[in-house]
């Protein structure tokens, strides 16, 4: 591990955040661009859900996470508080692994 890597990664990671942050800030945009930007969270957060549930690196797989997240979906649908949703998902996943499902 070199300091070059640490500092170049820090600079690059901050640059991608800052470019996005200041690129469109404070300027009026055409309505169509606004409509599309407003959908970024829906598209990307939903993609984070399926990526973190069904993939490891470049592999797709169904493992105990799917059960835990399935329970989380039911909990959210039943309007459970956030903390309960997360604790339920982790507990169900951990128990499924203890039971031997890898």
């Amino acid at each position: 591990m070199t300091w070059t890597l640490v500092l170049a990664l820090a600079a690059g990671a901050f640059a991608s955040k800052a470019v996005g942050f200041f690129l469109l800030a404070g300027r009026p945009l055409p309505a169509v661009v606004d409509r599309c930007l407003a959908l970024i969270p829906a598209a990307v957060v939903a993609a984070l859900v399926v990526k973190d549930t069904f993939s490891s690196g470049q592999h797709l797989e169904i493992d105990p996470r799917a059960l835990g997240v399935g329970v989380a979906v039911v909990a959210v649908w039943r309007r459970a508080p956030f903390v309960l949703v997360v604790v339920l998902a982790a507990t169900v996943t951990a128990v499924a692994r203890q039971a031997g499902w890898r």
């Binding site: 901050f14 959908l39 598209a43 990307v44 984070l48 973190d52 982790a90 507990t91």
Partner: protein, 248 residues
């Protein structure tokens, strides 16, 4: 740091709100949620600290990485490439691709976070999966900003504390044993839920998910999430129903 959530009083519906939005009882669930997420992040940070030191980084390098880079997936990927004998260039390339998704989040957050330049630079550094997702799950602009700052700062504190503990102790707690790898997608389910109220939100979520899963096996790690953002193109046709779930 000054309290950034009310650095600039804003006009409109928010002007009638109390002057200390962070103490708004309505934000208590956000605080509880951000501490929960922070704690889960902290356990991953411990395993990052352990992994980084065992991949040959010093304790100082490990902590500086968490303080400055502050995007966990990129840091883990850089450390694992170096640990596997990869070059600095290959470690950097993969990690920067992973970091690029924060730029997509920042497109959204940059239009919502107000304040002077230093405040906004700090906000840019805190623009990550958790803070963005927690913010967009809120309904009004004040709550969106407060949720962003509370979650970003909570994750920052836990991520860096956990990194230091892991780097010093060198004994890993395996987050997988406690099911913590399922904590994040579960949290994102709760956060994306309000986005699904509008038909377009549902379409964007569906197409983004399908795109991401379809591309995971064929594209480098980190790129599928970027491609998922293409699903926002469902927003192009004019909206006649005016039932969009979020305020830009």
């Amino acid at each position: 740091m000054t309290d950034p959530a009310h650095a600039r009083p804003s006009a409109g519906p928010s002007a009638a709100r109390p002057p200390h939005p962070w103490r708004d009882p309505a934000l208590r669930p956000v605080v509880a949620a951000s501490v929960t997420l922070g704690a889960a992040v902290g356990v991953f940070a411990i395993s990052f600290g352990v992994g980084s030191v065992s991949a040959g980084a010093s304790v100082l390098q490990t902590c500086v990485m968490s303080l400055l880079v502050f995007t966990g997936a990129s840091q883990l990927s850089a450390v694992s490439v170096i640990g596997a004998g990869g070059t600095t260039a290959s470690a950097l390339g993969g990690a920067l691709v992973l970091a690029a998704r924060n730029g997509v989040y920042a497109l959204t957050m940059g239009r919502r976070i107000e304040g002077r330049l230093p405040t906004r630079l700090v906000a840019a550094q805190l623009t990550i999966d958790e803070s963005t997702a927690m913010s967009v799950a809120q309904d009004d602009p004040i709550a969106q900003r407060a949720a962003f700052w509370i979650t970003g700062l909570s994750v920052y504190v836990f991520w860096n504390t956990g990194t230091l503990i892991g780097a010093l102790l060198g004994t890993a707690i395996d987050p997988v044993t406690f099911g913590l790898d399922a904590a994040f997608p579960a949290a994102y389910v709760a956060m994306v839920w309000p986005q699904l109220r509008s038909p377009r939100g549902r379409w964007a979520a569906l197409i983004g998910s399908v795109l991401c899963l379809a591309l995971v096996p064929v594209l480098p790690v980190g790129v599928p999430i970027l491609c998922a953002a293409l699903a926002v193109l469902v927003g192009i046709p004019p909206d006649h129903s005016a039932t969009q779930g979020i305020t830009p």
